[in-house]
């Protein structure tokens, strides 16, 4: 249905809310993200980028989590 709206987390603008669709990451990294609550379907918000542009910070399940752009690029999301 919404095939056009899937993009990678690292491409979102600051302040954007989005939902996790799928992961394009090695199994172990995917598992760690899942365990931190970034599960498929969960809604989050991109809060900010670090002063040097990387890593970035998201708000998910009521807390702040930062991860590098490199991994964020493998997280497929859709804007809400």
């Amino acid at each position: 249905m919404t095939t056009d709206a899937v993009e990678s987390l690292s491409a979102l603008p600051v302040g954007q809310k989005a939902r996790v669709v799928s992961f394009d990451l090695p199994p172990e990294q995917r598992q760690r993200l899942l365990e931190m609550g970034l599960t498929v379907g969960v809604e989050f918000q991109l809060v900010r980028f670090a002063p040097l542009g990387d890593p970035l910070e998201i708000k998910v399940r009521g807390y702040m989590l930062s991860l590098r752009k490199n991994e964020a690029a493998g997280i497929r999301v859709t804007r809400v």
Partner: protein, 703 residues
């Protein structure tokens, strides 16, 4: 439903003690609760054979019964990714020798961050050990507009839930009561796994040679391991690993990802729990304050200003405030040594006491003020949550050499002294990253190098201006920094290759520090340093004293410099002359190098003895400087040419001339392998550096 207590590994201590473990996510306030329960009745040690710290303490139940509380490392999950987490899992499965399986787990949960915190609880419940949930920071949650329905939460979780405010002492009576209850209520299985998965879990559980109540939990943990981690499992037979892999394969064929399905199932269950018990109001007041602070503290411009300001303040205190107690300790050691000299006849025993033991122990204790001040700051930075921001800001730069943002603080601390820096590397979770950080930390120019730089700059440019001195000093600091970055990059690429660990950093809300916790940690670190490093340093100091003292000179009226030339150290200076000749050094400098193997600043004192300069006042290096400038080789050329001076400074930037660091690396890595490797590579680096300066400089026509 069975309510019997589980029957874990029996130990003799079980009659008098109930073994309690305390677990929780990082930043959930676990240490505050641990400290409040145990007070000063804490013990810090290591688990046998691994570098993971084991922290235990005694506390008393509601009827005065003694209990042993084991602090498990803060963790987001029981999935094993670090030695710390492996230890946690092994303790909870009751298969760690010397550590009985806990009778009950206190699982600390941050009430203002319930969803993610419940993930670990879900995993704990799967292990079938009685769990008491300490719902901490309910005050913060309330302020954030979060309402938690305790009755609903208890019912959904099926275990006791105690609302607490750890920092204000709220809820401890109820917690003690809950932990003392007998029999303890047995936890229900909460998160329902998909049927296909559950079937595989039960099938695998039957094959495991463990007690039935832990079998399911362990089977589930095994099934969720990825291939590489499975191959590293050492405590199960190959057949079980293979069975796990085929089970995983069957699951994948059935369209179930064994790595993510259990995680999803747990979060589904958490969703149900939260829907029933967790009502979040719209107004996230405290979070928004934290958010606004972050707007400044991680700002493109102001973020750096704040960061640099904090670092400068920290270093200012370490260098200036610590100077007073350091001087007292030095003066005290000198006074004690003088007193002994005055009250004992001249003998080897007196020499051993004054030059070996007092000088050696004094040399250790003198680091304490810096370590305490550094830990004071680190404790505050950690408690307030700023540490995560520092890592957030610095990660990009650190990642250029393959390290993690969290390696920044240990490296920076090493500018004061490598010992607290290396001790601070414990915040780096990844084992390889931590090791690389430890290996390169001593390359950062520490305060003990300053006397050497000062002396060599004085010899190089006798009438130097403050600006010249600062310029040369700065170059040396930069050289150390570049060397550390370069070696870190090299080690990450060649020696400790492996996947770049991903950065997953929680940014906790800003909080006021717990002063009690900060002080306790300073106390604990200081004790560790004195006990563990002190013994090794003492032994090596005595050895170095013996080398510089024996054999005795033949003449009775030999001057100290003749005696030193006669000694093993003097002979070693001669022996290493061929090795250091290409650097432009003679055997006298060789003695200085050997003498300062224990501590760099000893170089100045050793050179004073070598050149027979009466150097009573350490601050006044002029007599020594003039002697060194006047020192000639056999052919009349001066010894300390500019190239030799610069080369010596470069040597001291790069060489591992510090027994205390060797001792602390030995302790932190739990083997002699890494400290010895570190000595080898740094000495090689130092030699090469000095060689390039001396020989390269000569080629370019300098002296």
């Amino acid at each position: 439903m069975s309510t019997r207590a589980p029957a874990p590994v029996a130990t003799p201590a079980r009659d008098v003690l109930r073994h309690v473990a305390i677990a929780g996510n990082p930043n959930c306030g676990k240490s505050t609760i641990f400290n409040a329960l145990t007070g000063l009745r804490q013990k810090v040690g290591n688990y046998p054979g691994v570098t993971v710290e084991k922290k235990t303490g005694r506390f008393f139940g509601s009827h005065g019964e003694a209990m042993e509380l084991l602090d498990l490392p803060g963790s987001y999950s029981l999935q094993v990714r670090s030695p710390d987490e492996a230890v946690s899992r092994d303790v909870l499965l009751g298969r760690l020798p010397g550590t009985p399986r806990p009778d009950v787990i206190i699982c600390v949960v941050d009430a203002s961050n319930l969803e993610r915190n419940l993930y670990l609880v879900a995993q704990m419940l799967e292990l079938q050990i009685p769990v008491v949930v300490a719902l901490n920071m309910v005050d913060v949650a309330e302020k954030n507009g979060i309402v938690i329905d305790l009755m609903a939460l208890r019912e959904k979780l099926g275990v006791p839930v105690i609302p607490m405010v750890g920092t204000k002492g709220v809820g401890f009576i109820e917690l003690r009561q809950a932990v003392s209850r007998s029999p303890l209520p047995h936890p229900p299985i909460c998160a329902q796994m998909p049927i296909v998965l559950e079937r595989e879990v039960m099938a695998l559980a039957k094959q495991l040679p463990v007690a039935p109540e832990v079998a399911r939990g362990e089977a589930l943990l095994l099934l969720t391991l990825h291939d590489q981690a499975l191959d590293e499992v050492a405590h199960h037979e190959r057949a079980i690993i293979d069975a796990t892999k085929t089970a995983q394969q069957r699951l994948r064929t059935a369209g179930i990802d064994p790595l993510s399905a259990p995680v999803d199932a747990r979060y589904d269950w958490i969703g149900e729990v939260c829907a029933a018990a967790h009502h979040s109001g719209g107004d996230h007041h405290a979070l928004s304050i934290s958010d606004r602070l972050d707007g400044w503290l991680t700002h493109r411009v102001w973020g750096w200003v704040a960061f640099l300001g904090i670092m400068v303040l920290m270093f200012f205190c370490i260098f200036t405030v610590a100077q007073y107690p350091m001087d007292w300790i030095k003066d005290g050691a000198a006074a004690l040594s003088k007193w002994v000299t005055g009250h004992m006849p001249d003998s080897d025993l007196r020499g051993l006491l004054t030059d070996g033991i007092i000088a050696g122990v004094g040399g250790v204790v003198v680091f304490l003020p810096q370590i305490l001040i550094l830990y004071f700051f680190l404790g505050i930075l950690e408690d307030t949550g700023y540490m995560a921001r520092a890592a957030f800001i610095m990660d990009r730069l650190m990642s250029k050499v393959g390290l993690h943002g969290k390696s920044f603080i240990p490296m920076l601390s090493s500018l004061a002294c490598a010992i607290p820096g290396i001790m601070a590397s414990r915040t780096v979770e990844n084992r390889k990253d931590r090791l690389v950080t430890i290996l390169v930390a001593p390359l950062m120019s520490c305060s003990a190098r300053i006397p050497v730089y000062t002396l060599m700059i004085a010899v190089l440019i006798p009438s130097h201006s403050a600006l010249q001195k600062a310029g040369i000093m700065l170059s040396m600091y930069l050289l150390g920094l570049v060397a550390a970055a370069g070696m870190a990059w090299l080690f990450k690429r060649k020696l400790l290759r492996g996947e770049t660990p991903m950065l997953l950093l929680e940014m906790p809300p800003y909080r006021l520090p717990s002063w009690r916790g900060v002080l306790l940690r300073m106390w604990e670190r200081a004790g560790l340093f004195l006990r563990r490093a002190g013994t090794i340093i003492l032994a090596l100091s005595i050895l170095l004293w013996a080398l510089a003292t024996f054999p005795k000179p033949d003449k009775a009226d030999a001057t100290p410099s003749e005696a030193l030339a006669q000694s093993f150290a003097g002979r070693m200076g001669h022996a290493i002359e061929p090795v250091i000749a290409p650097l432009g050094y003679d055997w006298k400098i060789g003695i200085g190098l050997i003498g300062s193997f224990a501590a760099r600043e000893v170089f100045v004192g050793t050179m004073s003895i070598v050149y027979s300069v009466e150097n009573k006042d350490e601050e006044n290096i002029e007599p020594l400087r003039d002697t060194m400038i006047a020192e000639k080789r056999a052919d009349g050329r001066p010894v300390f040419t500019p190239l030799v001076c610069i080369g010596l400074m470069v040597f001291y930037v790069l060489a591992m001339q510090c027994i205390s660091t060797v001792a602390i690396v030995r302790r932190e890595t739990n083997s002699w392998r890494w400290p010895l490797f570190q000595i080898a590579y740094m000495t090689a680096l130092a030699w090469i550096g000095a060689f390039i300066v001396f020989q390269g400089g000569k080629l370019l026509g300098f002296q």
